[in-house]
Subunit: 270 residues, 4 copies
């Protein structure tokens, strides 16, 4: 983790080699669903940021509620997050049906997104990861707690959803609406829900905030593991401290977003 | 580990500087043994992927059973995995003899591969690593267990082979058929076997699957170490969950393989 | 952390892509406040070094007391440390007021700096980070101690400031002079103060020394965590050993500073 | 550590940007002391490898006994290991005096090297590091032990030297012959000695072997920390296994050396 900011160069080179610049040329004049190039670019950039930091590997996804039709959401076709481009973004209804599939493969777990958008009108973006920091907490009796102000949103709680409780011995995937609904119920009014033996989901009022929360949930989990390993009690943020600090985080979010965007798309960020 | 996807750029540059592009030009028109350029490329790409992620360092190897002659297998000459090219692939019989050595140095531990191919007709690929995540489990009383669905294949078990039990105080290497046979017996019908004070071996029905398993065995071991450090019981995947999840992993494998391939051979992946 | 020196290349590329070279061209002929291009360059380079090592992420700041007016200090406008350039440096008085804001956004937590400069005439530079190594110690009952000679400055002590003690349930930020004064009082005559659930502050007689201390505070914390995890007593540096070793560190500081400078600005370092 | 092999690209770029190619041009026709370009190149490459892997940071050094005069050794002027070039190599006598200083700054701790060469006629190379993996073991009651065959040389033992025992409260540095002699006595006939609150020293019959041992001492320490954290007994290599495995390691050393050399000097390795 100490190296994350050391790799602008690599990300920059990747941007050039992988044709991200072109990707954004496409984005600029995009006729992609949603008709909002900035929103679609946030999904693309957010997916690449989480891949760049290793919060997602070949799996995981970032989605956004449709800007003008609250009963639709935007999400990439089935593709590794690091490779998502504007032209890969598809439109889905809140039952997880692709509005215009055109034969493109879709994510098995799109129901994570559709059911949360259905249950949470306030949620405008959803991120699903297999965060390596978080996974130990999904199978532990230890609760994920806020270690510092950047992860203040955790002070509202981060419940663990165990698919086995409602669905028995499964392939662990949220592959239908019933499983997605159950996950959304465990999320409740929180910003984060952990999935036993699987990963986590973060939500927010914008793609940037959901991505920010996915990133700092991973960091916070690693910090909490270190604090516990030191032994003795850990002095976590209180709910009131967390609520107040979270407000500030959202206000200064663009400072870090612009930095992260430069990591994955330097040519664009200029 | 959080940085693994952050380094496309570096890998891309390496591809150009180290002449990987040429390597693949060779691969395309390869007259290498096995006569299957795609299979040979998978061995090359798989070796470089595991090196790129640090699952192997200067040591370790990836092999494949000969596509048309089940009594033969394909493996690089003695060379660091990061440097393996199509022209380095040699053909061996199931006693570990090079069919056409032409003076090339061979791996001392090729018997890991030959004896597993002999004992397991279903196995089409074998990977040997000194995975840093796994080594602690090779000398511990703690059993490696599946932490999440990506490592579901571990739910069938990952036994530890101690060379000392059958062969006394050795140099720890599987340098002959007898040691290879003993290791293959400990592997049994599993996908992974750990080697005390040495590393591990993963197998599968294809190079891509054996490499996938080598990668996620390393990740899972690191996650399990973190979960144990948190204290309290750990809620591992059940055998049935593991069996079901593994089926899905194999179905979506190419999504992550194509991503990894781009890491080490961007010019090829285009 | 084992990889930090492996990334000159990435940093070099970043330097070129992000126009750092130009930045330094600006620096050379800078008319920035303070009128000392070398001092301003140290703030720029120090900010980028800490970002390059991940000691700071999108947040954190480096400041220096004005070279000719001890009642002023120099600090970037509100910006991610990795992106700070000479032209971003602003001048502030010791109440944290921008002397010539020209509409530029300023850091909420500039009072960390202003109050320490007020309380500590010997301090010529201040660094604030959310160091991932340190944060566990800010919420732990375990005291941060010097593990080795490079972190000898810790032998004088590294107290933990808990904002809640003096200010109740807050947003955790040092957003006014009263909070800054309280933090400065906890720092006392030390080189480092930890901030509960937030990060740390290091100070020194120069930017280079304050940055050196921020870096080795992060490293030392990670080393101490490892030593504690081994179990048994840990044999820390004694106060007298620490005092003697610190003197040597300051004498050889430029050897490592010049290396770090090359990491983030190779074109300049030539 | 999982990322070490992922960064050929960065190292390659660094090689180009930092003029390493030229460095080696110089090396080729070098008139440096010792008159052995290959030996001097090994010191240069070894220094850069250890920096590239983070086994050394801005501090640490690699030396070699003079190939024709056993009462002399070769070592860089005072410089960060990552920046050492052939033209920086100086010649010293076994009392640590520079034979031809020409005003160049020398390392304070050259006595680590001089006294070991004096005490150990079999030693042809010495490496000193502040290895982050090892430092916790230098202040712990837990003994560093061989986890796997690549670190087999540890089976002979890795004693800890505490400067305080012989010299009281010091600046921790081996800054004279008496301290060097005491350290050499603690090393005895071993390949590794740890230095409390400081780092370690590895020795060998060649630069490549001493560097190999410095690298795997760091890796082994990290692996042992992980194994201990799992709880329960750890099944280390036995002395006889270690002795046998070490013989093999030395025989296959060039496979990994050539890989590492490519990391730091791709243009040269071609």
């Amino acid at each position: 983790m100490t190296n994350t900011l050391a790799r602008f160069g690599a990300a920059a080179i990747f941007a050039l080699l992988s044709g991200l610049a072109q990707t954004h040329a496409q984005t600029a004049g995009s006729t992609a669903p949603g008709g909002d190039p900035v929103l679609i670019e946030d999904i693309v950039i957010g997916s690449r940021i989480l891949a760049d930091f290793g919060v997602v590997d070949g799996f995981g996804h970032v989605s956004a509620r449709h800007p003008t039709n609250p009963n639709r959401f935007l999400m990439s076709r089935s593709l590794a997050p690091a490779l998502v481009a504007a032209s890969d973004i598809m439109e889905f209804d809140l039952d997880g049906n692709a509005v215009d599939a055109r034969g493109r493969a879709v994510f098995l777990e799109r129901f994570i997104h559709s059911e949360i958008y259905k249950a949470r009108p306030d949620v405008m973006a959803v991120v699903h990861t297999h965060s390596l920091g978080v996974i130990p907490f999904t199978v532990s009796q230890v609760t994920l707690r806020p270690m510092y102000h950047n992860a203040a949103f955790l002070s509202a709680g981060a419940p663990v959803w165990d698919i086995r409780k409602g669905f028995g011995e499964t392939d662990m995937l949220v592959r239908d609406g019933a499983r997605g609904k159950s996950l959304a119920e465990m999320l409740g009014d929180k910003s984060v829900v952990l999935m036993r033996g699987h990963g986590d989901v973060t939500v927010g009022p914008s793609v940037r905030i959901a991505v920010f929360r996915a990133y700092y949930t991973d960091i916070d989990a690693k910090l909490q593991s270190q604090a516990i390993a030191l032994g003795g009690d850990v002095n976590y943020l209180t709910p009131e401290e967390g609520a107040k600090a979270d407000t500030v985080n959202l206000a200064v979010l663009d400072r870090v977003w612009n930095l992260w965007k430069l990591r994955v798309a330097p040519t664009l960020a200029k």
